[in-house]
């Protein structure tokens, strides 16, 4: 009996693993096929890339808790699932980069590992997301929904952070981020910030007022939702876009006003990712 149970647990794990690979590849495609990301991986400052990789770990643990590819019931399981997700993200990125000819055997180890580990950040998040997008297991799904519904304000903000990191990562490495900010005037910047807020509020209000299962403050007045979610969420989106631009060195040695413009530009996908995360995740 116990060995039969063990066998079926293993089988379920491999199904989840296959799903995780699907998620990793699905979500990391846009940046796997972006040349700026390959180059960044090769020359990015080592400390900043190491810090980014380390910060991904708590993000994955939290995501596993709320919404992972497995139905976890203890912190240890979340940690195990996190490292499985990282292994999936790293190996799938390594395979595709090798097939694309981005990494070759004659490159230095530091270049190859840099290129893979930059992609592995998004790919491992994708592996963790697999559950929401490619779900099949009804029981697991219900369990995850329960957790999300009972998530406190902090949990809601956490999901917003993940959404912001994820969506902004798919465009942040491109040169267009800084180029767009050069093309914009200060008037454009202010307008873009206001539009971002409005867009965010639209997404958040849709969740809160529609009785979506992620709504935790149904019936709260609009200004309360605006202050507690939209404004706080936009502030987090801006901080995240600043952090990512700093990591990639895109805004180093720029005047503070120019830096703010670039942060607002990347803040658009970050804001949309943050506010939409509660619908998607």
């Amino acid at each position: 009996m116990p060995s039969a149970k063990r066998k079926s647990d293993t089988l379920i794990f491999f199904k989840h693993l296959a799903r995780a690979y699907g998620g990793a590849i699905l979500f990391s495609f846009p940046i796997l096929m972006t040349m700026e990301v390959w180059w960044l991986g090769a020359y990015l400052d080592g400390f900043r890339l190491a810090l980014f990789t380390l910060l991904t770990i708590p993000l994955l643990i939290g995501l596993s808790y709320y919404d992972g590819f497995e139905d976890t019931s203890s912190v240890l399981e979340d940690v195990v699932a996190t490292f499985v997700a990282y292994a999936v993200g790293f190996t799938s990125s390594a395979l595709l980069l090798y097939l694309f000819g981005v990494i070759t055997t004659e490159m230095s180890a530091s270049e190859v590992i840099g290129k893979i580990s930059l992609q592995a950040i998004t790919a491992s998040l994708g592996a963790m997301f697999a559950q929401s997008l490619l779900m099949v297991d009804k029981a697991t799904e219900e369990h995850a929904e329960e957790r999300k519904r009972s998530a406190h304000y902090g949990g809601q903000l956490f999901l917003m952070v993940v959404g912001a990191v994820f969506l902004s990562m798919s465009v942040a490495p491109t040169e267009e981020m800084v180029l767009i900010s050069f093309q914009m005037t200060y008037g454009h910047t202010v307008a873009l910030a206001l539009i971002s807020l409005l867009l965010m509020h639209g997404f958040i209000y849709a969740v809160e007022s529609s009785g979506h299962e992620n709504a935790i403050s149904a019936g709260a007045p609009m200004w309360s939702i605006f202050l507690r979610y939209t404004v706080v969420g936009y502030a987090m989106a801006l901080l995240i876009s600043f952090y990512i631009l700093w990591t990639f060195g895109s805004i180093s040695d720029m005047a503070i006003t120019e830096q703010i413009k670039a942060v607002v530009v990347l803040g658009v996908p970050a804001a949309v990712g943050a506010s939409a995360s509660r619908i998607i995740l």
Partner: protein, 135 residues
Amino acid sequence: MAEEKSKGSEKEQTPVWEWIIAAFGLILVTGAVGTMVYRAAAENPTPPNLSFSIDSIEPTANGYLVKFTVKNTGNRTAAGLNIEGVLKNGEDDAETSSATLTYAPANSVRQGGLFFTKDPNQFNLQIRALGYEQP
């Protein structure tokens, strides 16, 4: 069997394979972070230091192709690297050609090619870097 996924209250055994893959993931994280920290710590930012070697000289439809390898032994990456090849005939330049490499990453090698109409075997071929952009 139908019971086995009923609720989280049931103590589920983490399969051995999951532990193995998780351990592999842990090794990857520490390995990647370690490599990156090493890359940062070991870097006394020496500028790009480029050396060229000629791999082959082949005839093509309209002339000759010189394939070369450029090795950057510096700790800084050179972007938009301009490379010039000259066929020297004593003091005179018989022919020049150029190539641009998008990147010559630190401590790495890259390959490229230069086209000439004259046979480079008849001349003294010199390849050098003209300039780059700091990424």
